[in-house]
């Protein structure tokens, strides 16, 4: 086998075991409640302005684009529907995933790499605290919990942005906008796409933690871990998305538009 390919598989194997260990450790005492709260605050609350602002802007911009096309076909009443479907089904989950990979993933990678470089991880181990459980598991769990919630914020702020943009163009009422937006909505357009971001969260948390936790290059490794975290977790999110969408269509055939 090609060395590159071998490395790729080796990497996949190591990261998978890393993630599996995190899942197993999650259910072992002691539960790091404080750490989990801290990480959720960091990954969730601190990402909120970014996510809401991006969602809002994206929603407004998308309506501007769809509007001109749909109006040409006399389907202006479909604008809210298209907006809501696009946001809830794909744009919201994926963009939130990528944003969080950029913000939180790089953060986790950099923080862990820095802790490794400054021997903080050794320090934790020297206190007989399981550093993996103490640092990695809460980070991954926080990503898993936070991503669906952030996705909802993204979805709704996108819808709000879309509404304001459309309201400016056609004076549509908020109520009508909402009614139209969800007129063709099924559960499969809402719950599976939102929940799939938990998987994105797991990917971001695992990959970023892996790069940060296992670096051993000192200060130079910090930047490298941050970059690798973002690049690899973004790529994996998109790949995972493809697989998840296939899976969702398999389970909810009516979700396939």
């Amino acid at each position: 086998m090609e060395p590159g390919l071998t490395n790729l598989f080796e990497f996949a194997g190591i990261v998978s075991r890393f993630g599996a260990r995190a899942v197993a450790d999650l259910f072992r005492r002691p539960f790091e409640g404080g750490q989990i709260v801290r990480q959720i605050a960091e990954a969730g609350w601190n990402s909120l302005p970014l996510v809401v602002a991006s969602g809002f802007a994206l929603g407004a911009v998308m309506t501007l684009h769809t509007r001109s096309t749909l109006v040409t076909f006399g389907a202006a009443s479909l604008i809210p529907t298209v907006q809501a479907l696009a946001f809830f089904v794909e744009i919201g989950p994926l963009v939130t995933g990528l944003l969080v990979a950029g913000r939180v993933g790089s953060g986790i990678g950099a923080v862990l790499a820095n802790m490794r470089a400054t021997e903080q991880i050794d320090g934790i181990e020297s206190l007989s605290i399981d550093s993996f459980k103490f640092l990695v598991v809460p980070g991954i769990l926080a990503c898993v919990v936070v991503l669906p919630l952030l996705t909802l914020f993204m979805d709704f702020s996108g819808l709000l942005g879309g509404f304001l943009s459309e309201h400016a163009a056609s004076r549509i009422s908020f109520h009508l906008y909402i009614v139209r937006a969800f007129s063709d909505f099924g559960w499969s357009n809402f719950i599976p796409p939102t929940m799939k971001t938990a998987v994105f969260g797991f990917v971001i948390g695992t990959v970023s933690s892996y790069f940060g936790f296992t670096t051993n290059k000192g200060a130079q490794g910090v930047g490298q871990a941050a970059t690798n975290s973002v690049v690899v977790s973004s790529l994996l999110i998109i790949l995972t998305d493809v697989i998840l969408i296939k899976g969702i269509f398999f389970v909810f055939p009516e979700g396939a538009l």
């Binding site: 709260v37 919990v145 559960w187």
Partner: protein, 489 residues
């Protein structure tokens, strides 16, 4: 630490609130959180209906399709389970009809349940609603276009015909006027009488022309009235026709009087009587002139090209192509028409409608067939039939005579209009009821067809077991009922 907890709490609660909001908004659309009633409906063709498709009651979103059971043979139909919001339950009656509709040309298929009538009882939960097979959009467009060009032609034809007839009437009326004026002026009696007799014949002729057309219009035989989409216009025409009718009957009356008058004159010559009658005739004439004018105007309106130079038919056709929403309406209209015997031939040629495919239940509820205004001849089985040597029933001589009498009673109309033969069997065994009532109807059909040389397509049979349609004066029957639907006469 406390501060962090508050932040996380805020974040999580905010996110969950959005999730709940989403659940409720979608749930509201899906009516997931309201109480539901379930019904069934059966279809031969699903036209793309899927699980989870919307259900609308009287046009309002009311629920969704829960399940579709696939038939195991062509004999049975798809059984669709639908749930309907309890709030709309009151609209779903035993005579509500479920159809499969399409939102726009490219939209979703949905199940539409028409609100039932006020007097029908509410449909029982888990009951099976009546259903109507969906039509494919392309068929509809073809049909609609064909139908409309037919209508277009008919209207034009009719316009010309009425025009001619009315000109005749007007001419005649002015003739009458001339004559009457002449009479009044006291011209030579002998010549006058001669002229008058010819005139009276003319009037009668013209009148029967008008009568033909107007009666035809009224009965919808010409199809124009029935198909005009514009209700107001149709009403106007109907009104005008009634006008014209009154006018012509006035005129007929007047002509009869003129007839009498002339013979009276020949005998008695009563100037005073004459004067009165002449005034009457004049009144009638001006009356008919008014009616004629209205009628002409309306016909012209209908047939006249619009501002863009399009004929009425072309106009409607184009709007049909544009407004795909209208297809649903047209589907319903054509559906209604299919049940209308007037168009039976029209549709039958296209293979859409066949009375033999109608179930007795459907037949019993059908407004056309169960109408108390239909001509019905109730013939008792004991008189019609006798036992043949092989144990089967056959028509007796007496029965044949009764059938001849029943049919000739309606004269020529019976030959050209559809005739439905309802078979009844008075016994208690349901299997016997089905078999024997059908057998009786078949026997009568064979006889009528061969004896009167009727068109086979015009003779329909229905085996009614022992239950005639409601409110016709017979709760049970044993024998045959020959029905000539009123509309066909």
């Amino acid at each position: 630490m406390k501060n962090k907890n508050v932040i996380v709490g805020l974040f999580v609660v905010g996110g969950l609130a959005l999730f709940t909001a989403g659940m409720f908004v979608i749930g509201d659309r899906r009516q997931a959180f309201s109480r539901h009633v379930e019904y069934y409906a059966e279809f031969v063709n699903l036209a793309g209906l899927t699980n989870g498709a919307k259900v609308r009651v009287a046009g309002m979103d009311a629920g969704q399709v829960l399940a579709i059971r696939v038939p195991d043979s062509p004999l049975s139909r798809f059984r669709v389970t639908l749930k309907v919001d309890e709030k709309l339950r009151g609209l779903v009656r035993t005579d509500s009809v479920a159809t499969i509709g399409t939102e726009g040309v490219v939209g979703d298929t949905f199940l539409s349940v028409r609100a039932g009538s006020r007097y029908a009882p509410a449909a029982a939960p888990l009951g099976t609603l009546r259903s109507k097979e969906p039509m494919e959009l392309s068929d509809l467009l073809d049909q609609g276009t064909g139908l409309l060009s037919d209508v277009d032609g008919t209207i034009k034809q009719l316009g010309g015909k009425i025009d001619g007839a009315l000109t005749g009437v007007t001419a005649t009326v002015s003739n009458v006027n001339d004559v009457v004026v002449g009479l009044k002026d006291g011209r030579g009696t002998a010549g006058m009488l001669l002229r008058d007799q010819a005139l009276a014949g003319q009037i009668r002729q013209a009148m029967s022309n008008v009568n033909d057309v107007t009666v035809g219009l009224k009965d919808g035989r010409g199809a124009a009235g029935m198909l005009l989409r514009d209700e107001a216009l149709a009403r106007q025409i109907r009104q005008a026709v009634t006008h014209a009718e009154t006018a012509t009957s006035d005129l007929g009356h007047a002509a009869g009087q003129a007839d009498k008058l002339i013979s009276d004159l020949q005998k008695r010559q009563v100037p005073k009587k004459l004067d009165e009658t002449i005034d009457k005739v004049k009144g009638a004439a001006s009356n008919i002139e008014e009616g004629t004018r209205q009628l002409k105007q309306i016909i012209a309106e209908v047939a006249m090209p619009d501002g863009q130079g399009m004929s009425a038919g072309a106009n409607i056709r184009e709007s049909l192509a544009n407004a795909n929403v209208a297809t649903a309406n047209i589907a319903e209209d054509t559906e209604a028409l299919k049940h209308n015997f007037l168009f039976r031939g029209f549709f039958r040629r296209r293979g859409y409608f066949n009375i033999t495919r109608m179930s007795p239940e459907k037949y019993r509820r059908d407004r056309v067939f169960s109408s108390p205004r239909n001509y019905r001849a109730w013939l008792a089985g004991s008189e019609l039939f006798q036992k043949a040597e092989n144990g089967q029933e056959e028509l007796s001589q007496q029965g044949k005579g009764m059938l001849n009498a029943a049919l000739t009673q309606y004269g020529d109309t019976a030959v050209e209009s559809p005739v439905v033969i309802e078979g009844y069997w008075g016994g208690d065994n349901p299997a016997d009821q089905l078999a024997f009532s059908r057998n009786r109807a078949i026997l009568v059909r064979e006889y009528l067809q061969s004896h009167f040389q009727l068109e086979p397509g015009n003779l329909g049979i229905v085996s009614m077991r022992n239950l005639p349609p409601a409110e016709l004066g017979h709760s049970k029957w044993d024998g045959i009922c020959i029905v000539i639907p009123k509309l066909a006469l």
